[in-house]
């Protein structure tokens, strides 16, 4: 007995040391590449990609385009984005590679887990990507802390195409950061819905948000939008992000008697429970869910019945029922073939990939500076899975480069327990309604006078420059 235990202990120790060695190897596994790329960088100057084997050992392998992503693999969005990036890479590689200029590259997506708004994890992830693996492009970041990541990417001239909820990544001092999935110019969505609800008779609105960074930013933005659209906005309610029992929240909502309740950054289980609890209080009115995918809607209908959510409008992240663009349909087909089932959580957030793809195809270059120059003087919208996404400048922050994006979005409406496509929010409306909501007309007018008005994709829009 005793001896057996000891032997087992030794076994465990042995396994652990093996694991440790494996860990060390994995941490340091890129050492050869590191030195190779190092020389490439110093001799070639540009050091565009990790041309892993081609440069150093002189083998005949095709060059590799490494695309990094800092993702929170703790979250559904992170996992879904990882799947999409793998799919995109596979599609290129199956077709023989990505032809950029004269070279054909094999696409290799690299994933780095950053936890969820965790400073130390963000730091070690970005350092592994940038310093160890010499990744030159960080596309589609989710869950990282931009202030933390950018302090590593900027000095190392790494292209950062991510998203953030404060304005850390769109400061004029930054040279290699583009907020390719911005929410600053995304007020069109709420603006449309506010207008629709006002038309149906809603007068006052209460914004309900989780007590998180996005929650607070969201509450401010949604509140401002509703005010601009002409609704009376009550004091927002913040609740602890891991709340499971929404009865106290619903009771508080009902006690303030608003006509409409807007949830911002409330999704999945929270959303279902929150609306369920609202129904239990007997409150009736307009609801704007923060995020609603097909599965959540089905669950919601199962829980509260379809009458309660009839006519509910929301932004859609699911391109399937609405998008007729053949390229998008191809991607959706490929996704379903590859993974067998369908999740829409990543569709919206994967937008930066298309902006990156567009920049490379347009410039036919892998050089970071060339790409940045293209991106920061962007003129047109790029098609993403969820519609057109377009980069704009931020003159309100004295940043005259196009570094912040208006993401593509749809509005859908719930009818008979099903989600129906209502309309697409035009890039122009995203842009203009946001400026209107923030009251930045004067600042932007000066910018337009100097640099000219931006051009938009050809879409029907509700607003024009004269409406500001």
């Amino acid at each position: 007995m005793r001896l057996g235990k000891r032997r087992l202990g030794t076994l465990v120790l042995g396994v652990l040391f093996l694991a440790l060695i494996a860990g060390l190897v994995a941490c340091g596994g890129e050492k050869s590449t590191e030195s190779t790329t190092g020389t490439t960088q110093s001799s070639g100057g540009a050091g565009a990609t990790g041309t892993s084997a081609a440069g150093g050992s002189g083998s005949a392998d095709e060059p590799v385009l490494r695309v990094g992503a800092l993702l929170s693999l703790d979250s559904i969005q992170g996992v879904e984005m990882k799947k999409w990036l793998q799919l995109f890479a596979k599609l290129y590689n199956d077709a023989g590679g990505w032809k950029i200029g004269e070279t054909t590259y094999r696409v290799e997506p690299m994933f780095y887990d950053v936890g969820m708004w965790d400073a130390t994890k963000s730091r070690s992830a970005v350092e592994k990507a940038v310093l160890q693996d010499k990744v030159k492009y960080l596309v589609c970041n989710w869950g990282d802390i931009p202030a933390e990541t950018l302090s590593v990417t900027e000095p190392n001239k790494v292209l950062w195409l991510g998203l953030d909820f404060v304005d850390d990544s769109v400061k004029p001092t930054l040279n290699y950061a583009v907020r390719a999935q911005g929410l600053f110019f995304a007020q069109g969505l709420f603006y449309y819905i506010c207008q629709d609800y006002i038309k149906q008779g809603a007068k006052s609105v209460l914004v309900v948000c989780p007590d998180t960074q996005q929650g607070h930013v969201g509450a401010q933005l949604v509140g401002a939008t509703a005010t601009t659209a002409g609704m009376q906005v009550l004091d927002p309610i913040f609740f602890s992000a891991d709340t499971a029992d929404f009865s106290p929240i619903a009771t508080k909502i009902a006690s303030q008697k608003p006509d409409a309740v807007f949830f911002s950054y409330v999704a999945g289980a929270s959303l279902i429970n929150a609306i369920g609890a609202l129904k239990d209080t007997g409150w009736k009115g307009f609801i704007l869910p923060g995020e609603l995918d097909g599965e959540t809607l089905n669950n919601l209908v199962a829980k509260v019945g379809k009458e309660y959510v009839e006519g509910m409008e929301t932004g859609s992240y699911d391109p399937r029922p609405v998008e007729k663009d053949p390229q998008t349909l191809n991607y959706i087909d490929a996704y379903q073939q590859q993974y067998g089932d369908w999740h829409s959580e990543g569709c919206f957030w994967i937008g930066p990939w298309f902006i990156f793809e567009d920049a490379i195809n347009a410039t036919q270059s892998t050089d970071v500076d060339t790409l940045v120059a293209y991106l920061t003087s962007s003129k047109k919208g790029v098609r993403t899975l969820t519609g057109y996404s377009q980069l704009f400048a931020r003159p309100d922050l004295q940043n005259y480069k196009t570094v912040d994006s208006a993401p593509g979005h749809y509005i859908g409406v719930v009818r008979d327990g099903k989600f129906e496509y209502l309309e697409t929010i035009a890039c122009k409306d995203q842009y203009l309604s946001s400026i209107k909501v923030y009251g930045l007309k004067d600042v932007y007018q000066k910018y337009w006078d100097e640099y000219g008005y931006p051009e938009f994709p050809d879409q029907p829009a509700r607003l024009d420059f004269s409406d500001l």
Binding site: K5, R6, L8, G9, T10, L11, V12, L13, V15, L16, A19, L20, A22, G23, L24, V25, A26, C27, G28, K31, E34, L73, D74, V79, M110, F111, Y112, D113, G115, M116, W117, D118, A119, T120, R123, S124, A125, E127, K128, V130, L131, Q132, I145, A147, E148, L150, S151, F165, V166, D168, D211, T212, Q213, G215, H216, V217, F238, S240
Partner: protein, 346 residues
């Protein structure tokens, strides 16, 4: 003479370990050096945990006090334009004074209440950091100003690493002095049994409080240190999960090893976790399985197994007696059948 003493005192491995630590930056790249900087930070946290374990108090508020150190330094640098070096003593002071207020409620109520109260406190503190506007909210503080020495900006990984190393060695030195002193003997007495300690006339509550506050001081230093390499402070970093990881470091390293256990545990787990960066969703499972296996088959941790192997080899060579270190017995169940012989009951 001194060298002979060192070899005799069974601490000869300290010299190569120290040399290795000093030489490390010359062999590894910037990213891996950063990993070692994290290992240093986690070691500091685990050492504080181990310190209170010595008096029979497991604490789950380690990450919270780490956050107190980071926030104090960061806030003073941001809002009062203070030099980083000036904030160090202040963060220690804040951590100790606040700690005194909190722990004077809970320490006298025994281990169980101390532990659970610590959890509730950590939860509440994170809420404060997250929800109070002054601290920057859940999104964290604005970008922190860089740490400088005179006009030199401390952003070279190597010097940050050496700073951390110095802090770690300082920490180890202070703990060693404390363990060897009268206070340390009182702590050991408390650790090996409360009744015994009280019967020896040891003021259990007082010594425990002192112990926890010493831990707090070094946790605050660890927090301030993290400001050196971190661009900003964000409340979610200092959550409950991190405290649980700290506990795992200590056990995996070896509970009986006051100094080396936490460091080895932090090193091993951080490297394992780091090596699984691309498959992070499996990392908790791997860590969990490793922990269960260690507890069941190597309850004295990696170092315990290592030492028992070395000892058994030495025993065979020298046929002399050497024993494993004891786990503080107040953490064991009270003398009872089942705790001693669980295999025989069912």
């Amino acid at each position: 003479m001194r060298r002979a003493m060192l070899f005799k005192s069974n601490k000869w491995w300290l010299i190569p370990a120290f040399l290795l630590a000093v030489a490390l930056p010359f062999f590894v790249g910037a990213y891996r050096l950063q990993i070692f900087i994290f290992v240093i930070t986690y070691s500091l946290l685990a050492l504080a945990f181990q310190l209170t374990m010595r008096v029979g108090l497991p604490r789950f508020d380690v990450a919270a006090w780490w956050g107190v150190g980071a926030y104090t330094s960061g806030m003073l640098m941001l809002k009062a334009n203070m030099s980083f070096w000036l904030t160090l003593p202040i963060s220690v002071l804040v951590s100790v004074v606040l700690g005194f207020a909190v722990f004077s409620v809970s320490v006298r109520r025994g281990m169980m209440v101390f532990m659970m109260f610590g959890m509730v406190f950590a939860l509440a503190l994170q809420q404060v950091f997250g929800s109070v506007k002054f601290f920057g909210g859940w999104g964290g503080t604005p970008q922190l100003p860089p740490v400088t020495i005179g006009s030199y900006v401390l952003n070279d990984k190597m010097w940050i690493y050496y700073l951390g190393m110095a802090l770690l060695i300082f920490n180890l030195g202070v703990y060693q002095l404390l363990y060897k002193s009268r206070i340390g003997r009182a702590w050991s007495a408390i650790g090996s049994g409360l009744r015994l300690a009280s019967s020896l006339g040891v003021n259990v509550v007082g010594y425990r409080l002192a112990n926890v506050l010493v831990g707090n001081a070094f946790l605050a230093l660890a927090g301030s240190f993290s400001v050196v390499y971190q661009a900003m402070i964000i409340p979610t970093t200092y959550g409950f999960q991190q405290s649980i990881y700290v506990m795992m470091y200590v056990v995996i390293g070896g509970l009986g090893f006051a100094m080396a256990g936490p460091i080895v545990g932090a090193l091993v787990l951080t490297l394992i976790s780091e090596s699984m960066r691309a498959a992070q969703q499996y990392q908790p499972i791997v860590t969990g399985v490793i922990t269960v296996l260690i507890i069941m088959f190597a309850p004295w941790g990696l170092l315990g197994v290592l030492r028992s192997r070395v000892v058994s080899v030495l025993q065979r060579l020298l046929s002399s007696r050497a024993a494993l270190p004891d786990i503080p017995s107040s953490l064991g169940s009270p003398a009872s059948v089942t705790a001693e012989e669980p295999g025989k009951d069912a």
